[in-house]
Symmetry: C2
């Protein structure tokens, strides 16, 4: 089955197959059926906006395939990327639960697929299935801790090098549990990295040069290799 944008549609985009500990996993049969009724699946091209900061919350999106970036902008156009999401993540949950406008913009960074659950249906679903509400609370507090970590990074780490090192480490711990050296596929532009750590493109460029010279990292094409993890950890220090 072929979808637009050269993507294969996943016949059964159940998030459980993607991530075991997931919000909507291991539900009772009845709850699972109900969930299947209220969700709908769609395919998105690169650059598609799932939702935009300030919009009234229409519902949540459960990413099945592809990556998305979550960002906020100031009026002057300065943008910060607050999170990179991939398959299994639930987007827009906070806004939907509290019925506040979406606090971020969610943009697909590559073609992907997502399940959509409208707000009304979800809220009703949670009222009918109290046991899932507690799961939602847990997910929300996980979101909170992620946000809190962001605060620590932005508020406590003074220099861009510190934040950059922290970012590199967070990448390599996520992926490189297999071998010690830590290889990461680098899919972001310097501009985007700058928006994550809150600095300018030029500074990111200089940081790459500096870290390469200090043998902290190495670049092979678009593959990033962490060369000296302890040194990076020493830079972080928070």
């Amino acid at each position: 089955m072929r979808a637009p944008y050269g993507l294969n549609i996943l016949d059964n985009c159940l998030t459980c197959s993607v991530r075991e500990e997931h919000l909507f996993c291991n539900l009772s049969v009845h709850a699972g059926q109900r969930l299947n009724e209220i969700k709908s699946t769609a395919v998105y091209p690169k650059g598609a906006m799932l939702f935009i900061e300030g919009q009234q919350p229409r519902g949540v999106f459960v990413l099945c395939a592809g990556k998305a970036k979550l960002s906020t902008s100031s009026r002057e156009g300065k943008t910060i990327i607050t999170k990179l999401s991939d398959a299994g993540d639930v987007l827009g949950l906070n806004a939907v639960i509290s019925n506040h406008p979406y606090e971020v913009t969610a943009e697909m960074m590559e073609p992907g697929q997502a399940n959509f659950i409208p707000r009304e249906s979800l809220v009703q679903f949670l009222k009918d299935h109290g046991e899932v509400a507690l799961r939602v609370a847990e997910q929300l507090s996980r979101n909170y801790f992620t946000a809190y970590d962001e605060i620590r990074t932005l508020g406590l780490a003074t220099s861009p090098s510190e934040k950059f090192a922290k970012l590199l480490l967070s990448w390599s711990t996520k992926t490189a549990q297999n071998d010690g050296a830590g290889q990461v596929k680098l899919t972001l532009t310097h501009e985007e990295i700058a928006e994550i750590i809150g600095t300018t493109r030029e500074t990111v460029s200089r940081l790459f040069s500096e870290f390469k010279k200090k043998q902290l990292l190495q670049l092979k094409g678009s593959t990033l290799i962490i060369r000296n993890r302890p040194a990076l950890e020493k830079i972080v220090q928070s």
Copy 2:
């Protein structure tokens, strides 16, 4: 009835009397009774630590009287204050729900009183009373939005003056709905203000001078008067 620290014990420290929209308000009779059984009340002196960043979550504290500051520190000793809490606030909820260590330190800024609900009891209570779990979810998402606002402030506002102006406005909107001029009792030291906006004590001092010179604010003893709100709003711009 006299308590230590020169504080009168509130005989009935029900949070509902403090804040109507509160988490544990308007419960069913049964739930209310149960809650009364599992909570305990205590009085704290100025400087008392309700809990400390990194500790295993013992339970939540519902502030009845007094103010508390929530803060995080880096290893090098740099500290940021992330929130000032007062009567009615629930502290430690995120940690308790997700069973992560407390992400902040909660310190009493003045003598006060709080209800304590142990973790185990609260979790059991929420399991027994599913309707309250959804309330908790809402509260968590409110916490999340507060955190998110902090991220926006730290990440998007570049200059200390911008953050300072934002802080001043947040103070005056909360208190001065009565008259336009905006009077606030200033209880924080410059040091503490610096920890809120992420700068140094000296810079805060200079900001006060600068804003006074520009007729944006005025100080009468420890009373802060906002003189030119539109100008402050123009400085914020985010």
